[in-house]
Symmetry: D2
Subunit: 139 residues, 4 copies
């Protein structure tokens, strides 16, 4: 539960808007990528490569929140420190702290579920309890 | 203050991820676009076309939050109902309700500031109180 | 073959870069969306809703080209005129002309294939000849 | 002129579409980022940090082309090898070869100009000849 992972990103020109700062949805895009790197670093294969019998296709969001404290611009190198701060029955909570050097730029929080295709209707997805196999990697 | 604006979007194939649902940062992208349409509908020109002497270059985020209730996929038509629910001294709060037909998909909330280039350091931006000229359009 | 479809887009603040003009990959994003609207306008359902027995999951690109003639910025309304200009044995060629009013901004050309999951290896995709059922809609 | 630079990217879940492969405009997004890394590696500061008196705000595109040879998916690590293959009077040509390991995935070509704000109309941009100071870094 106390495991953290840090993912590095370089802010690109095209990540910034006409105010010359990062267009804010990109911070969520980076948090999402950091979430997957977090699991990969613990040994969980990308969803499409796993063959764990649980049919997981992703970890869609239930809730997302971010506080934007200091802006970033292109040329900046940023680091996202990611951890799971809570495992719930049907969901889990990730925390992301985004820094440039020692400066905290953004604090984010995502509530996610593990999802698979609905067995009777592949057009729908359904939430699963966090798989034991994944959860215990973080204990 | 009670004014609302509805912006329509078509969910594209490329807005969706390998789980076949909207990649969540796109909802924030659409909320951001809806925010600008909200101001445009009230008669505020795009920032780069205004010549109001206040030097506003955008309305960057201080805080963003969304609850994701029902997923969407490509081919869907969605509507974002946008309003300003609070004017504060240095910031303001926007509310976005995203629907497909009558179904609420996402509820979002953005806290924003009006920003201009810092007069002594154009590489920085600074927050302004919401301009009277803009604020009174919504009273 | 001579059928064309026009899709309208509003250029958003977040579609533009620090030079205040559209970040160019967004033009390809819009062309991709226009391609799907082109098929939808002819009566082809989104891939995930079709049940045509051919397993098509998308129309990935083989080749893409664009000439950028006049830039666009946020607040602009643009129209993409899309047509299929050539049906080949295993691929097809789409043409996109992007205009703001009467001004041509971008001319694009995409070579695409119809793709399905490889029957023996779902992790791979394979190109199909353009389905007769779709092709004849444009004759 | 013979200088090349290699930029590494990790393909994220959100970079992929419902066909589970990279949504193609992202390849152009990465080429654009690789172009800036190419200049940075040669010692050219990000445009907003330079104070070279030439007012350059970016290197917008005149023409872009890509051949998509092999698809990529999330979890892949890709490398973009970038070079300037031609300096012209008012523009220059960049070449990008995108590989996963030894496999070439995409070959791209961008024709770009150096741009600054138009001196008499800051809402417009104008192309400059490639600055000597930048060009000679590659000779």
């Amino acid at each position: 539960m106390s495991r953290t992972h840090v993912t590095q990103f370089a802010v690109a020109f095209g990540d910034c808007d006409p105010a010359q700062i990062v267009f804010y949805p990109n911070f969520f895009r980076w948090m999402d990528a950091a979430s997957l790197h977090f699991f990969a670093a613990a040994g969980v294969l990308p969803w499409h490569q796993r063959d764990a019998g649980d049919g997981i296709i992703g970890t869609p969001l239930v809730d997302a929140h971010a506080r934007f404290i200091v802006p970033a611009t292109y040329g900046d190198r940023i680091a996202i420190e990611t951890s799971v701060v809570e495992w719930r029955k049907k969901s889990f909570v990730m925390r992301h702290v985004i820094r440039r050097g020692d400066t905290v730029l953004v604090e984010g929080r995502e509530v996610r579920v593990f999802a698979r295709r609905h067995p009777h209707d592949p057009a729908r997805i359904e939430a699963l309890p966090p798989p034991e196999m994944i959860r215990k990697l973080f204990e």
